[in-house]
Subunit: 321 residues, 4 copies
């Protein structure tokens, strides 16, 4: 059994990790850290876990952990890593954005299995991708892999409220967000950096703009992204390319039918739909932001790092409605 | 023109008052007080008012106000009234619960026009009813008026999130409240006091229990209440009684079709539906908690206090969807 | 492996069965019947199953089925059973209401494991309970088991839209149902019959009324029921009673915190909360109407009928948000 | 009083017209036609109108109508106009798409007041714009008016469910649409024709592509559109241009704060927000699809045609939540 600890255990991504790890046959959660919740039952913060766990939040890490998931939020992971709280023998999977951009200061591997599967298998430190970034990269990587990104890319994507975490803000208030839609951070979303880094990894000379309009949707879970660009290749050629690229990737599926967010909610799947119209290829993609966009992908990375079947504990029943 | 001031101008009920007063032909809003928002545009707190008002929040009350609406929240109205901030010449309509229960310490009239129309006309101080209380009283008053409340009354009612105000809490977070339902304050909701007071005003000897199960719904506006009790009278007799009781009340309607919350959303209407089954009469009622359950009713009271037609400024277009 | 067939495979409960059976380690789905969808991919009707199944709808039943789930809708199961379409060697689990009421004409066992576990283990034909009925019975059975139902019972319960199936109607249209709430079938809901039958099974002399107000909620999945009645016993005594009654029931949990529907969504759990106030005991319960209220319970019954661990394939990750 | 008749009176746009006309001081609705609802109360089809109207659906048009609104759906208006059902003396405002594209066969004026105010004033027949088309045109017209559309335009826009009318379909079912988002008709939406026609009216040589990704949102009312293109002009210059263009247009407002759909819900307003970033100008716009996107705009056109103040009956209270 892999001994797992979680730092930052009271937030949404930690809750989702716990939900998933409860059903993972090869792991045992040995400590869940949260300074703010120290001494409380984990099932008092994550109420749906009532009856599934007796764990109590602690402010100390169990030293015999095999792997630690960092769920403390952006900016804090760097502090934690540098504080020597974590012994160098322990593998780390960081769900924050702190180590996603390559840099001579750290040795984190960018944990998108569909891009870096082999490096992940031997990695000691993983930077788990962002949720929008995961959906958009899965939509574009096959094109980059054969150098077909030769024009500006246009992206519009809509996210559920859980993407904003459990902190309260005017845009997570039910009275505001229900029955609503809005645009934010147009052209400047922080995930653009990791998206470009990955595309350049496959297509070094790609230097066009990615115009990204993020939207907030009136739903709690999921992301839908629509990406399009001018392209010469035919729809049939592009479909073949995507089928080939994803043939050994158990969580990515191509669909002939138009997509909606709920097709993948509560699963680790990504589904893509391709359509060419008037010289543009449109790639629509859907994921669950908390699963494939965060905690499910973190477990997928863990599975690879520990030599398990990639899908272990991740064959999840969709909730769909 | 009636000169209106609002104290506690940044909250939901104040916003709704401003929306309504903007379309009221006989009023002019002369000051909107908010210590926390002092100096900001009113339309920066109530963004939908963009283009409709140039008002700025102030921390001073204009002394030439004819009427003041108190929207500061429960417990604060008493403080304000006792502080002599408000000159005794100014009429006051208080939207908090501070003065709803009769008491020798104050002279506020309970502002439910369907119960106290004549007293309201000559009142100087009005205690505006609670939202649940309004819906439940309108459902039961005709029975009390002829002494037909002779058994325990069972009430279940569901409210939109705006009923909880704009403060952030775990139960107003979109990620929690969307797609959800929950029970709270079962049997102990604070509106029971004012409900019983009004029923006893009409049926002095009524002394049965009112068993009230409040629920939180996955919607922003509106209340639906279902009240039932054992009764001898026939459905036809009861319908006749309700028609008579409400015949001169412009905002209360009886419907032969089953009700849903959106039938009245964004209006000052209350719609009631009556059904007798197996010895029980069921009265279902719907109102908009922010309009008939708060700010619309406050304006209805103002209209009565100033000798205006009761419906002035309150013939509102439903949003329905 | 248990060979499973489904009749009426295009509806919501059949879709949910397929989702669950895909993750059940001891079953193989060998035929999915649907006359209207004959020849189409199952994943074209249940789009979230894309990539998880290659099954095609058929109009013929595979004769070597070990068990058949009937999902054809109320009234049709009786026809199917009488038509001799199904050989007498095959076990049947019927999700309709056709055989829930005991009757000398049939030998179906009422499939509520928390009431009839032993009978289910040796049953050949199971009538799977209704969704409201499941939630309300789980809330009341412990009281009936010791004869504590000695007054009228008051029930209010709210259901998600999937409870109405996938047929289109004015009350399942998004424009109507979103942001809304409504009452229907007050006092006359068809599940009252099976509820009373079960309560009388444990407390033969119970003869009081159950006053049931069903509501439609603005959510897709889940049921919350609030039941109350007058009772002498203390809250502590009643909690002890419930703990005892459910001690060997893996899916029923008692919670000290107030409940909401999303605590159990996408799981086979039922969670109950007990509160005594002013002489009344309030039992609030939540289930997922499609899982514990339909297809999950059907599989729980199948597990019992085939001598499997009751929880096999039913340890599901909650979606919670 | 203007005598108004409505053909196709049972649908969403007709319902919204009736809601608006009930509060319009200069109109009287004299007949509401619907073959399917003949003889029924109008308030039985539009239940929120309970208590506001005694009208009954008819299958005959009152011949003394001054103006007729056609709400029968796309394709049917042409039939009706050609059938001579409507005498040539009666003004017509058609809410379908049948006459929006200019054509020597008809004399309908495209009824977007912000583009064609003067022509509308003297028009006899009006083609009322589409909902997406209204929002997108208002976002782009000022640029076209000075020839600044000199590159491809990218548009993503999300619509509420009422935009699809009240017919039942899989994408209007609550169980599907709640908590969801989806893309449809990418690059091929039928409103592109009228949008291009209007842009060319102001900027004849505009010949670039408009890449339009429509989305379905989990809300009932409203449209948000985000349009962007490469542009030389500065943000300040563009803001000045928009202020000038809309200075005499009472329903169009510029906002310095980011937009959301609910800022305009239940009003005839359009609010626009401008932001330049990296050489692109982004114009975000919001309208209510049933009001400014349909029935409100139709009444705005009627007001202009009959010499009334343009805003008559259209100063509406926002519902905002």
């Amino acid at each position: 059994m892999i001994k797992v600890s979680i730092i930052g255990g009271a937030g949404y991504t930690a809750g989702e990790l716990l939900r998933l790890l409860n059903h993972h046959p090869e792991t045992e959660v040995i400590s869940v850290m949260s300074r703010s919740h120290k001494g409380k039952l984990v099932s008092d913060a994550h109420l749906d876990l009532e009856g599934e766990t007796e764990l109590v939040f602690s402010d100390k890490l169990k030293p015999d952990s095999d792997v630690i998931f960092l769920c403390s939020g952006h900016g804090k992971s760097k502090e934690i890593i540098e504080s020597e709280l974590i012994s160098s023998a322990i593998k780390v999977i960081d769900l924050s954005s702190d180590f996603r951009i390559k840099n001579s200061d750290h040795n984190f591997i960018y944990g998108l299995p569909e891009l870096n599967r082999e490096e992940i298998k031997s990695a000691h430190h993983i930077a788990n991708p962002g949720c929008f970034a995961t959906c958009i990269q899965l939509s574009l990587l096959p094109l980059a892999s054969v150098g077909l990104l030769n024009d500006d890319v246009h992206v519009t994507a809509i996210t559920g409220s859980t993407g904003a975490g459990q902190n309260h803000s005017s845009t997570t208030h039910f009275s505001w967000r229900s029955n609503n839609a809005s645009v934010y951070k147009a052209f400047t979303h922080q995930h653009l950096g990791e998206i470009k880094q990955s595309l350049n990894q496959l297509q070094n000379e790609f230097n066009n703009d990615i115009h990204f309009i993020p939207m907030r949707g009136a739903f709690a879970r999921g992301i839908l992204a629509a990406c399009y660009l001018k392209i010469e290749a035919s729809e049939a050629e592009i479909k073949k390319l995507y089928q080939g690229y994803y043939s050994s990737n158990p969580f990515v599926h191509l669909s002939e039918t138009e997509l909606d967010v709920k097709r993948v909610v509560n699963t680790n799947k990504a589904i893509l739909h391709l359509k060419k119209e008037g010289g543009q290829i449109l790639i629509t993609g859907v994921i669950d932001n908390l699963v494939k966009g965060a905690s499910g992908q973190a477990i997928q990375n863990m599975n690879l790092m520990f030599g398990l079947e990639e899908t272990t504990g991740l064959n999840l029943k969709s909730s769909v409605f």
